[in-house]
């Protein structure tokens, strides 16, 4: 059962396609992706994803697909033909809304005019470009196979190809970065006038190459990262970008409709190794191994790694954890209606954090985190989860 976005007619659905191929692996990346151009493997992947989409489409007749997101990996590196075939397969097997948001991620080193024109023609209407920083030295250190100049060129090509909804990814907390260089990066990138900007604090994940030399990497400490974050929020706000989620900013209401589903309890289906779904009350993740995925789809074997039926009580925790990432925040009536739990115990915690400037509340009674609050959102959310644990369900319905 969809929790928040139930429509009168069909239920809306997001599709995520994980394209696990890259030119090279970045030092900090812990997504599932292979740094190779193996045509046979890519073909096997393409067949499997398409077969998987056919299988799933038959199971979701009551849904209307209104967002499709090709992430990775580097979808642009996979090539326009493959992406086009997948999108066509989706259109044939799902009911895709005419106004669906269809995004693909790309990197500056793998966007040609040809690819862009082709994808625009196929109906892709949103592009997410990974720029990360304007400092070529840092780009090199991070193992990214492009320069900032290439990124600017790529951006211009994307515009030229007719995309009117472009997002760029930036990172702060990078090796050797200072508050000043970060602000310069933002200034430079803002000159491009993207509709959407994501700013991610670098998190050093275990198992990545960076993890092994993090002590020597000259990484900004938590306090500096916090300053960088607040500086970005302030600068972007002053340039007309609304912060609609912890790490996401947009102009003119052009938020990522697909990503918003993750934070508002929408339903989505994932395809490709390591992709996750939240569908029909269950959350599940596909295998992180491409061969297992290809063979599993072909032979009808197991491709799931983790299937969980999420009870309502747990959904109530997810609501807090995910909703509070967004500017919409949370509201008493919505919460009590959805989860039959009292909101009052949470108010105590929220009010306490509000007095310290971490939480705000608007005229409609929606509670949200301030930028300062976002920075310590784990602390606030875990406080709320604790208060939630102690609350008894509202009994009036039972």
């Amino acid at each position: 059962m969809p929790i928040l976005t139930k429509r009168l007619n069909k239920t809306s659905l997001g599709l995520y396609i994980h394209v696990p191929f890259c030119r090279s692996k970045c030092q900090y990346c812990d997504f599932y992706s292979l740094a190779c151009k193996d045509d046979k493997l890519m073909d096997g992947y393409l067949d499997a994803v398409c077969a998987h989409i056919k299988e799933a489409g038959a199971l979701a007749p009551g849904y209307k697909v209104d967002t499709i997101y090709f992430g990775g990996g580097t979808p642009s590196f996979f090539g326009a033909d493959g992406l086009a075939i997948i999108l066509t397969t989706i259109r044939r097997n799902f009911d895709v809304d005419n106004n669906a948001e269809i995004t693909f991620e790309c990197n500056p080193d793998s966007v040609s005019d040809k690819l862009l024109h082709r994808l625009r023609a196929e109906g892709f209407n949103r592009v997410s470009l990974g720029i990360q920083t304007d400092d070529d030295e840092i780009l090199k250190k991070l193992g990214r196979p492009h320069t900032y100049a290439q990124a600017v060129t790529a951006y211009q090509r994307i515009r030229k190809a007719g995309f009117r909804n472009v997002s760029v990814d930036l990172m702060y907390g990078l090796p050797g970065q200072t508050l000043r260089t970060w602000q310069e990066t933002l200034d430079n990138v803002l000159k491009l006038l993207p509709e959407h900007i994501s700013c991610y604090g670098l998190k050093v994940e275990e198992g990545t190459p960076l993890w092994d030399y993090k002590e020597a990497a000259n990484l900004p400490d938590d306090d500096l990262q916090a300053d960088m974050y607040l500086a970005a929020v302030e600068l972007l706000r002053s340039r007309g970008y609304r912060q609609y989620e912890i790490s996401n900013f947009c102009r003119k209401g052009q938020y990522s409709r697909h990503n918003m589903k993750y934070w508002t309890g929408g339903e989505y289906l994932g395809f490709g190794p390591s992709a996750s779904s939240d569908f029909a009350g269950k959350r599940f993740t596909l295998t992180r191994d491409i061969q297992t995925y290809i063979q599993g789809i072909r032979d009808g074997g197991e491709v799931m790694e983790d299937v969980q039926e999420i009870p309502l009580r747990e959904r109530a925790g997810e609501y807090l954890m995910l909703r509070l990432r967004t500017q919409q925040g949370i509201a008493a009536d919505e919460y009590e209606r959805l989860f039959l739990l009292p909101f009052q115990p949470l108010v105590k915690v929220l009010a306490n954090h509000r007095s310290l400037g971490y939480v705000g509340v608007n005229d409609q009674g929606r509670w949200y985190l301030t930028p300062k609050g976002y920075l310590i959102s784990n602390t606030i959310i875990s406080d709320l989860l604790m208060a939630q644990d102690e609350s008894e369900p509202i009994r009036r319905l039972f």
């Binding site: 995520y16 991610y200 604090g201 998190k203 938590d222 306090d223 990262q225 916090a226 974050y229 912890i246 790490s247 990503n259 993750y262 934070w263 989505y268 994932g270 390591s274 992709a275 996750s276 779904s277 939240d278 959350r283 993740t285 983790d306 969980q308 925790g317 997810e318 954890m321 995910l322 990432r325 954090h353 310290l356 971490y358 976002y374 920075l375 310590i376 959102s377 784990n378 602390t379 959310i381 875990s382 406080d383 989860l385 604790m386 644990d389």
Partner: protein, 615 residues
């Protein structure tokens, strides 16, 4: 050689004094005491093979894990010796730690002989000596046994010489055994029959029965373990505890076997057995007390009784304040079975309701804590242990201070005293320098030093008990690569320069972190504690000053910087499950924290303060 159980009664009913042998096994820790006890039981076939487990007499799970005996236990073995006679051998297993010295002395008082187990490679150690002296003081025949002769490093001849030289008892003919591999066990049994004196006593005299242990059983009430010194005890008889004055009617008497209790018609002088009398708590059956008859009572109790006296006190609080009642019930139940622990209601501003608990020593304290946590499923916060201080106020009033909460204002103190102990340390001579340095750090006053042999040295110190109870044993072990051994004994109170150190978090005193210490140690210790707390208290949304103060004067300070960043930058479809787990974990961590004013302190922080490692 062995008899079936049916004939057990027969043997017993007719057991003459000359056919009884009462003995203990004494040893330094890890020299193989419990293993030997098991072998003796097996050799006499007292243990049903089906229920045989390693170290039968050590019945608590904790005892098995730690490899030590905490409670004394006893068993009667039936043994037919090479001379063709059948003997009743009463084995009384004694606790094996310096914390339980008094209990050991009472167990020994129930015996006529003691088997001294000495490790064939380690030789004589501090507790070998301490326990031997206890046995000799109790007038026991001490019979050395050289154990672990199968080890490649065994040097039985040298160790025998050591026993003769250091302890001064003949060891030339001592059995050389391996308890672990069952080598020469028979010779130990023969030695017991031959060399342990038979008990004496008049079975018609007024009853004098020594309590050497007791155990609570939810069906029978307290089961008193006793050695009948004079007279006879039977079911139906009215008895009286001579120290506590409590009276009861005997329900049952009998013998302990490793597999259970075996009722008998009567227990007479010279015998070891149990008595039940619908006794509700072990506090009424104090170790060392004498049981006599209400009619025809003995004129004197047996010598050596001493009321139990906890030496170390610490605040025990439920980590979750709501669990206070559960903690109370758990302590009540534990107390039924452990008269040496004391507890009293205590309330701390910081921790709410809890208990001031008294223990025989730190090991005892750890055992109780572990049992509370394991057997009663409690999460505890324990405050720093302290000894009992004696303070004479300017008003002339003398008070015993069991908790820092009660420590008077410095202005009101005329004289402060702390308990001192005599400490015996044994180690190879190359570590003497290290030991001396350690003892000096711990305010030890050097008394003398004796060479036990060409290689090993025994040092005597007098030292404040407070310096011993924290981590002295660990420090000794690390400075002697594990070769050092320790034994101590309380010798009384001495004047001392004492201060109470308070810890302030965000400007408020956390009373549960206060403690009393020697003034000269205050500065380094205060700094260390502030550092430890800084490491263990999570950052909050504001800066938290940690201060240590004596009487309002700040002597150390650290600052926990405000939390600025605790955020998951990315959270898309594939991240949700993982990040949910992370937040759940964070939440659970918070549940285990105590909030003092505005500062949350995890229970680990209290632990960290307890374990200030000096290096």
């Amino acid at each position: 050689m062995t008899l079936p159980y049916e004939s057990f009664y027969e043997v017993y009913r007719m057991t003459e004094l000359s056919k009884i042998r009462n003995f203990s096994i004494i040893a330094h820790i890890d020299h193989g005491k419990s293993t030997l006890a098991d072998r003796l039981l097996e050799e006499c076939d007292a243990i049903d093979q089906r229920i045989r487990a390693e170290q039968m007499l050590d019945s608590m799970e904790l005892e098995k894990e730690r490899g030590i005996t905490i409670k004394a236990t006893a068993a009667t073995l039936t043994y037919t010796a090479d001379d063709g006679e059948t003997y009743a051998l009463n084995l009384i297993d004694t606790p094996g730690h310096v914390d339980f010295n008094y209990e050991v002395s009472r167990s020994l008082a129930a015996c006529e002989g003691a088997i001294l187990v000495v490790d064939a490679s380690q030789g004589v150690e501090a507790q070998t000596l301490a326990n031997t002296y206890l046995a000799i003081d109790a007038g026991l025949e001490v019979l050395p046994v050289i154990n672990k002769i199968d080890l490649p490093s065994a040097r039985p001849a040298e160790v025998k010489a050591e026993v003769e030289d250091i302890i001064g008892i003949p060891a030339e003919d001592s059995p050389e055994i391996s308890a672990k591999n069952g080598i020469n066990i028979h010779s130990v049994l023969e030695m017991i029959v031959r060399d342990v004196p038979a008990p004496t006593g008049d079975r018609n005299a007024p009853l004098q029965a020594l309590i050497f242990d007791s155990q609570y059983d939810s069906y029978r009430g307290v089961i008193v373990y006793t050695r009948i010194k004079q007279g006879t005890v039977k079911p139906g008889m009215d008895i009286k505890m001579m120290a506590t004055g409590a009276t009861y009617k005997v329900v049952e008497v009998g013998n302990m076997s490793p597999t259970g209790l075996i009722p008998r018609d009567a227990l007479g002088a010279g015998e070891v057995g149990y008595i039940t009398a619908s006794i509700k708590t072990v506090a009424d059956t104090q170790v060392g007390d004498t049981i006599t008859g209400l009619e025809n009572p003995a004129s004197e109790p047996l010598p050596g009784y001493r009321p139990v006296q906890p030496m170390v006190f610490s605040g025990v609080y439920p980590a979750d304040g709501a669990k206070y009642q559960d903690l109370r019930e758990a302590l009540e139940k534990l107390k039924l079975n452990d008269a040496s622990m004391s507890y009293e209601l205590e309330s701390s501003i910081a921790l709410g309701f809890g208990f001031r608990c008294g223990f025989l020593g730190l090991l005892h304290m750890e055992i109780i804590q572990e049992r509370l946590e394991r057997e009663y499923n409690l999460d505890l916060i324990t405050t720093a242990p302290n000894v009992v201080y004696r303070v004479t106020k300017t008003s002339g009033e003398t008070m015993m201070v069991y908790t820092p909460l009660d420590y008077p204002d410095p202005m009101e103190i005329q004289l402060a005293e702390e308990p001192f102990a005599k400490v015996n340390l044994i180690a190879p001579q190359e570590y003497v320098g290290n030991i001396m340095e350690l003892c000096q750090q711990r305010r030890g006053e050097f008394k003398d030093m004796v060479y036990l042999d060409a290689n090993r040295v025994e040092l005597h110190y007098e030292m404040p008990l407070n310096e011993i109870i924290y981590d002295f044993f660990d420090a000794l072990k690390s400075r002697t690569r594990g070769y050092g051994s320790l034994d101590y004994e309380l010798i009384g109170y001495r004047p001392s320069k004492l201060v109470k150190l308070d810890i302030l978090l965000n400007g408020d005193i956390v009373d549960a972190l206060s403690f009393i210490l020697f003034a000269d140690n205050a500065y380094p210790r205060a700094r260390k504690i502030c550092e430890k707390l800084k490491e263990n208290i999570p950052r909050a949304q504001f800066e938290i000053p940690i201060q240590a103060a004596i009487g309002g004067k700040i002597i150390a300070r650290e600052t926990i910087k405000a939390l600025r960043k605790d955020v998951l930058a990315k959270c898309y479809g594939g991240d949700i499950t993982r990040k949910k787990k992370l937040l759940e974990k964070q939440k659970e961590g918070k549940k285990r924290m105590r909030t003092f004013g505005t500062v949350s302190v995890p229970s680990e922080a209290f632990m960290a303060v307890l374990k200030l490692d000096e290096d």
